[in-house]
């Protein structure tokens, strides 16, 4: 009887002998090694990877795109990250962090990940100080208020994820106000718990969701030109070369209290989430971003190629990209 099967058979079946241990909490770093050590500044290769690919076990042999797709991204997320100074600037004011924890045990902890891109602003190294401080503060707070309680199983009456994340970003804002008074930073963060993504956002770094045939910008830029577009005073084309296209009206480190945009999304299987600083989206169109991501099953390859393309177009700004490939 179908019903009974559902009633009594709903414990997840062990997939292999090694999964049979009662507690086998392997912590899996999600980053996948890059295909080859290539400098993102010297990218000249075509964007579509057809060359022999080094797969993580070390063997080199040609693989078709299809077999690569089935090989990578088993039952947990994999991610890539790259931050580059660009071709013009002398320093990188962007900051980023990615971490992802996957475990398998009787406790059924969901996978957990934290991903942040922050783009600092201010002279005298204040920009990179502000973005670094934002990343450090939020990562520390999120780990202690969200992840550690989750790991120890103390989730009864836990602070709502959205609130804990917002509080962490407010704390980062306060820290910047006191410690780097002349600096500021944009801030975009994704917390992934299972397939639920929580996003916090201030400024003009962006988070995109890519599905099979769609790229969607989940965050809204807090920029003057975006505001003018929303008020029908500018077209997106006019905004692209507006003299004040880089003027933000909201960032961390600017005011005692900052309004933080939050949202959460159940992310579909096999979709991709991308965080990036304006160094990418100012140089590379959304459509091109989508193409490169689709053509590169390995997220680190995709990050390298996206940064390389931004640099090829002039690399006027620091570029930071984090790409998450969600499991199918």
């Amino acid at each position: 009887m179908n019903l009974f099967r559902r009633f009594f058979n709903n414990q997840p079946q062990p997939k292999s002998a090694s999964d049979n241990g009662a507690l086998n909490g392997s912590i899996t770093p999600g980053a996948v090694p890059t295909t080859k050590a290539e400098s993102p500044l010297q990218e000249t290769a075509p964007l579509i990877t057809t060359a022999p690919i080094l797969i993580p076990d070390g063997a080199t042999r040609p693989l078709s795109q299809e077999s690569l797709l089935t090989y990578l991204g088993g039952d947990h997320l994999i991610f890539g990250q790259l931050s580059d100074v660009g071709m013009v600037r002398s320093n990188n004011q962007d900051a980023a962090i990615s971490y992802f924890v996957s475990s398998r045990s009787n406790d059924e902890r969901p996978d957990f990940g934290l991903f942040i891109v922050a783009d600092g602003m201010g002279g005298h190294h204040d920009g990179e100080k502000a973005s670094a401080l934002a990343v450090k503060t939020v990562a520390t707070q999120v780990t202690s208020t969200i992840y550690l309680p989750m790991l120890s199983g103390q989730t009864d009456n836990q602070v709502p994820i959205t609130e804990a994340l917002t509080e962490a970003v407010q704390k980062a804002n306060a820290d910047i106000m006191t410690q780097v008074p002349d600096g500021g930073t944009t801030f975009s963060a994704v917390i992934l718990i299972g397939d639920l993504a929580y996003i916090a956002h201030v400024g003009d770094s962006r988070v995109y969701l890519l599905t099979k045939d769609n790229i969607e910008q989940l965050t809204r830029d807090h920029s003057l030109v975006q505001r003018l577009i929303e008020l029908d005073q500018l077209t997106p084309e006019e905004a692209a070369d507006h003299p004040q296209k880089n003027v933000l009206y909201r960032a961390l480190g600017q005011n005692e209290v900052v309004e933080i945009d939050t949202l959460f999304r159940r992310v579909p299987p096999k979709s991709r989430l991308m965080l990036c600083s304006d160094g990418l989206w100012n140089q590379v169109q959304d459509r091109e971003i989508a193409d490169i991501i689709r053509q590169n099953a390995n997220p680190q390859d995709a990050c390298n190629k996206l940064v390389a393309l931004a640099n090829k177009r002039g690399g006027l700004d620091n570029v930071t990209v984090i790409l998450l490939n969600l499991p199918g």
């Binding site: 002279g123 709502p160 505001r227 003018l228 009206y249 600017q254």
Partner: protein, 681 residues
Amino acid sequence: MPETTQFAGGGDNSQDTSLKPNHVLHNRYKIMGVLGGGGMGTVYQARDLNFTDVRKLVAIKEMQTQVSDGALRASMLKTFRREANILATLSHPAIPQIYDFFDLNERAYLVMEYINGKDLEILLAQTKELPVEKVIEWAIDLCDVLEYLHTQKPDPIVFRDVKPSNIMIDSLGKVRLIDFGIAKTFVSGAKNTMIGTEGYSAPEQYKGDVSPQSDIYSLGATLHHILTRKDPRLEPPFSFHERPIAVLNPKVPPGMIAIIDRALLFSGAERFRSCREMKESLDTLRYRPMMLPSSSQAPIQQPPNYPPAQYPPQYAPQQYPPQYAQPPQYGAQPQYQPPAPETPSTDFFREGTTNIGTIQPKWTFKTEDEIRCSPTATKDQAFVGSYDSNIWSLKLDTGELLWKFPTKGGIASSPVLDEMNRTVVFGSEDFTLYAVDFRSGRISWTFPTKDRIRSTPRVAHNFVFFGSDDGKLYALAAPNGRQHWAADIETPVRSRPFVTNELVIVGAESGEVAAFTLSGNRKWTYRARRNIISSPLVNMVDNICYVGSGDGFLYALDINTGFNSWRFRTHGSIISSPAEYKQLVFFGSTDGILYAVNTQNGREKWKFDTGKPIVASPVVHKDAVYFGGTDGYFYCIGAENGKERWKYKTGGAITAMPHIAGDVVLIGSLDHTLYAFPLGT
């Protein structure tokens, strides 16, 4: 090396080449100190040594350029000379006098009147509040000087940069406009991200269009900042209307608010036609009618007059709604319209509430005691439980009695249909769960628990799930009522379980929300601070469970993990069960309000205040929300905008959820009566 700056023009004085005190410039001006700087120049205070017997102070503006680009330097010098030339030809009490202009060591200097005072930005920082009457005086004087500039021949002079830091208040309390010509053109080609917008600039200035109306906007923005103390550089651009002056500073008279609002209109054509017109409007706030200037060109419809600091009681601030009600009208100018509602209503009842009495029940049916539970219906048959201990079955289209079934206790649990087994299932205060054949009204099976049953059952997967005050969650086989399992929760379970394909989720008196697998094993628990009577609702696409608690919060829980995604605070208890429609979740609270909250971020979309506690659950049908209040009213409101469409007063409080059946909505009231209202269109 490109440098980023915080706030445009905020300046980074790393290369300090400024003149030091006691330096004598041009053999005449002895530098005393620096008055200000930033942007393109430094301003010094200096003493004019030509006046040997008196201490004549002057302000010297120095344009020093570190710009190596010759063309750019030339253009900056030209701008500086233009300022000097403009100032030299002007004569107005609010414009500083110019004494001298010269070049020296590749720098240009402008010598002008020293103004002993403070600029408004500093005054804002140093005070808690500036008197409204004083602000009105300054506004009038600013209109006067701007009008003087705008009427210059051959071309009007547009100041382009009205803002608190460019307005000095001198030692006599009079306004002086400073900083002509510098930084008037927006810095172009900035490659670095900057924080902070001009904040005071009119929208058209960002497209390069500048007119006297742009100065009017900036003046409005400046006045808004001074009166609300909300710095527009820290807010989204052009969002002044989101910070109503009436809310932020109740001391500002409505007439002043209306003038500022008009100056801040998005379209230049809708603002005042001139500073003179704006000044005339401001004058009406200052003077009594007999002192009004008689030169009005356009007849000005009088705003009410306000003696300083004492307003007629009918305009007492608290009576003045935040939504910019009744702005004064300005002659033939387009009248200011308050912002349109966020979501324009598309319903048939847009004109407002249909008055009581225009909607009438199709039929009513009176039971013998209070109706505390929700009705249900098949396509032709309605069922309702009453505290008179009966389940009543009625014809859906007429309300005629078909049968009634007596239990041994009042009925607070709502009857639910089990279509597959042709029964109606309900619990009773007599501790028993009943399944009654819905055609005949004859008993099919019963199941005894050890306490009262107030939880409404859920029929799913051919099982009946329900809770009892005996502290258990039961799963019974729907065809025969045989117990499949019972899970211990230990405190009374009064909410209705929600059943997905994998889980049964239920709330209990202890405040816990518990999720069990369909085989009865506990998967996760979330603890709210107080009891849960509200029934969980699961969005099966997002896999998020919404549930209210006696602690006043509505919680959004991830059903895979039980983690709390967000919560929304009300100021009462939430007994009402949530309903969902298009990324909005609706629920009532005992604070008297029905809330609509955006499910994507947990923020309020709208609220509807009934004034009396709401314990009943709403139902959404098409684009309308139906719910009853303890005020006795049954409400129909727009789901997208929270606007009332109609309401009907029943004879008692409503504590139960409505039920949509065919073309009617059924609702029971504590007045013992079941009402059937037509769904309309």
